[in-house]
């Protein structure tokens, strides 16, 4: 079957996108595969000003996962548009800008600027980064704030789809999902990292300078699946599922619980051709399973 899929006007050759913060600005991965074979590229979270991020050490390995407290180091929206976007084959593969800000006005300003760029196909709003104390965590954990940010971004996004990326660090993810939908989100993406920490008994120090960071990788796949399952039953918006995906089979697990598309995150670090390999493996797996359309398969969990 043809793995193409369309979500809120966003046309993807296949449902395999890359997750923000794990695929650089896309260009870093060009030596390892053909970027136009991906469903889409979500770039590193962008802020208005460049950001230096958190002190080192800011990554740590954990069982089947990793912790990060990068603190959104990025070159800023302007330099992204001037230096990175022209290097990406955006006419052939949707490039999605992931944006981060500490207040609603900044979110709106960023959204207006990035949505105005021809090479940007959609905006993904990060209301869920657990690394930056100055507001990030609040937007994603408070339904009222989530709706406000979504509304502000949606107003400035013009015709470009707005994806709101949710945090799993809440008691009830469906209430934040509903709030984002009320705020006008076109698509929901979930999940961002889980708040966690790691400790070294010999030095008695936390393994991250920031003490607390975001857990990602295969270890969190069960949480991601659960969240997509719950939200897909509570909200009538297309969902992009992510968290721990490392194979074509993982992709189909997410689609079975209700996702329309997926993002590959930490698995890009396991080997830099992971996303390309998953996109290439998918058609054969669909054939093997006798799947003939996404409509038939999506959400078809027998539960």
């Amino acid at each position: 079957m043809n793995p193409a899929v369309e979500l809120a006007g966003l046309r993807l050759k296949n449902p395999v996108l890359t997750a923000s913060g794990t695929f650089g600005y896309g260009v870093e991965f060009a030596p390892y595969g053909d970027l136009t074979e991906l469903g889409g590229i979500v770039v590193k979270g962008l802020s208005w000003e460049p950001r230096a991020g958190n002190p080192m050490p800011r990554i740590a390995e954990t069982p089947c996962g990793m912790l990060n407290a990068i603190g959104l180091q990025n070159i800023g929206a302007h330099r992204f548009v001037a230096e990175k976007l022209p290097l990406l084959p955006w006419a052939e593969v949707p490039v999605i800008a992931n944006l981060y800000a500490c207040d609603v006005e900044d979110f709106a300003r960023l959204a207006e600027y990035l949505a105005g760029q021809e090479g940007v196909a959609a905006l993904e709003v990060n209301i869920s980064c657990p690394n930056v104390q100055a507001g990030g965590i609040l937007f994603g954990q408070d339904p009222g704030q989530a709706a406000r940010v979504t509304r502000a971004v949606k107003e400035k996004a013009g015709t470009k789809p707005v994806i709101v990326k949710l945090s799993p660090n809440v008691t009830d993810i469906t209430s934040v999902a509903k709030a984002a939908a009320d705020g006008g989100a076109d698509i929901l993406a979930l999940i961002n990292t889980l708040s966690g920490m790691a400790v070294d008994v010999r030095t008695r120090m936390p393994r991250l300078a920031n003490v607390i960071g975001g857990l990602s990788g295969p270890a969190i796949k069960p949480v991601g699946l659960r969240c997509v399952h719950q939200v897909s039953r509570a909200v009538d918006l297309p969902i992009i599922g992510l968290g721990g995906i490392a194979s074509a089979e993982d992709v189909l697990e997410y689609i079975l619980v209700g996702a329309w598309a997926v993002q590959i995150g930490t698995a890009n670090f396991l080997r830099p051709d992971t996303a390309f390999r998953i996109a290439a493996d998918l058609p054969k797996l669909l054939d093997d399973l006798g799947v003939t359309s996404w409509e038939e398969f999506r959400g078809a969990l027998r539960a």
Partner: protein, 301 residues
């Protein structure tokens, strides 16, 4: 200044990601019949790992010494999660050779690889050391920091202009000094106690001062405290020195931003994997903790 400013020698190749086959794994410094993998903790043993690259991996001319590869045995599945970075020790006649020391889980798991095992490798990565064939060049290696200098010296057009000053803690027989080319000067100095270390730092300073005075080139690779010492001495004596950093890495390709280091001339921290691992000493601010256990890193000298 742009994020990707060239700070050291340019990368000579475009990297690829491929599966390699293990040809041979050999423990150094021991008779073959004594070689046995450790089971319950790092033993600080040293190994030479020979891998067979596929035909489309950059060949002998396709890399610069000081560049590295990320290496991840297929058998690891998700545990350990990350690949591990290793300097290219040699890439000759269709063999990629890695020289490594067992320090933790990943390297311990590598010490039980067998002939025929498959390893995912991506590289050559990063920017290597400068080569100035006519300049007297001092190579400063601390422990496993010897690895890139074997390739550097073997590829150098004038090994007679090179001098290696090598500080180590395990017996010198652990290190494959026999792989260095003929005609270069080699001095090894072992430190097993604090007094010997102080003495070593004194020797280091005299050599750095000498090369600074004659406008020579100094290249260093080794544990973080060793590089900090070389940096401060190089700055003090106004020597031209390059340092190769060994920061903790997850991706090796400039995507995770976990390997960064601070520099004196860039606003944002720079990525050691793509903008290094080799930097000019005066460009670095080495005050930051690299994420490694400092006691362990020191112990590796």
């Amino acid at each position: 200044m742009p994020d990707d400013t060239l700070m050291a020698a340019d990368a000579a190749s475009s990297p690829v990601c491929r599966e390699f086959t293990v040809l041979e794994l050999r423990r150094t410094g021991l008779k073959a019949d004594l070689a046995s993998p450790s089971k319950d903790g790092p033993d600080h043993s040293h190994w030479l790992l020979d891998l067979e690259p596929p035909a489309d991996f950059p060949g002998e001319g396709g890399w610069t010494p000081g560049q590295f590869v990320m290496l991840r045995p297929v058998s690891w599945a998700f545990e350990p999660l990350w690949a591990r970075p290793f300097s290219i020790c040699m890439l000759e006649r269709g063999v990629l050779r890695i020289f490594f020391q067992v320090v933790g889980r990943g390297t311990r798991a590598m010490s039980v690889l067998r002939r025929g095992d498959r390893i995912v490798v991506w590289g050559p990565l990063g920017r290597g050391f400068v080569v100035e064939p006519e300049t007297p060049t001092l190579l400063l290696a601390g422990g496993i920091g010897l690895a890139p200098f074997i390739g550097y010296a073997r590829r150098h057009p004038r090994p007679d202009t090179l001098r290696l000053f090598f500080g180590h803690r395990p017996e010198v027989g652990e290190y494959p000094l026999d792989l260095l080319p003929q005609g270069m000067a080699v001095e090894a100095s072992r430190q097993t106690c604090a007094e010997e270390l102080a003495c070593f730092v004194g020797d280091l300073e005299r050599r750095i001062a000498e090369y600074a005075g004659t406008d020579g080139l100094i290249l260093a690779c080794g544990p973080h405290p060793f590089l900090q010492a070389v940096q401060s001495l190089a700055v003090k004596h106004r020597a031209r020195a390059q340092l190769s950093l060994e920061n903790r890495m997850a991706c090796g390709v400039g995507a995770c931003l976990g390997c960064v280091t601070e520099t004196t001339n860039q606003a944002l921290p720079v990525k050691v994997c793509t903008q290094g691992p080799v930097f000019w000493a005066h460009e670095l601010r080495l005050g930051v903790d690299l994420g490694g256990n400092q006691a362990d890193l020191g112990g590796k000298v």
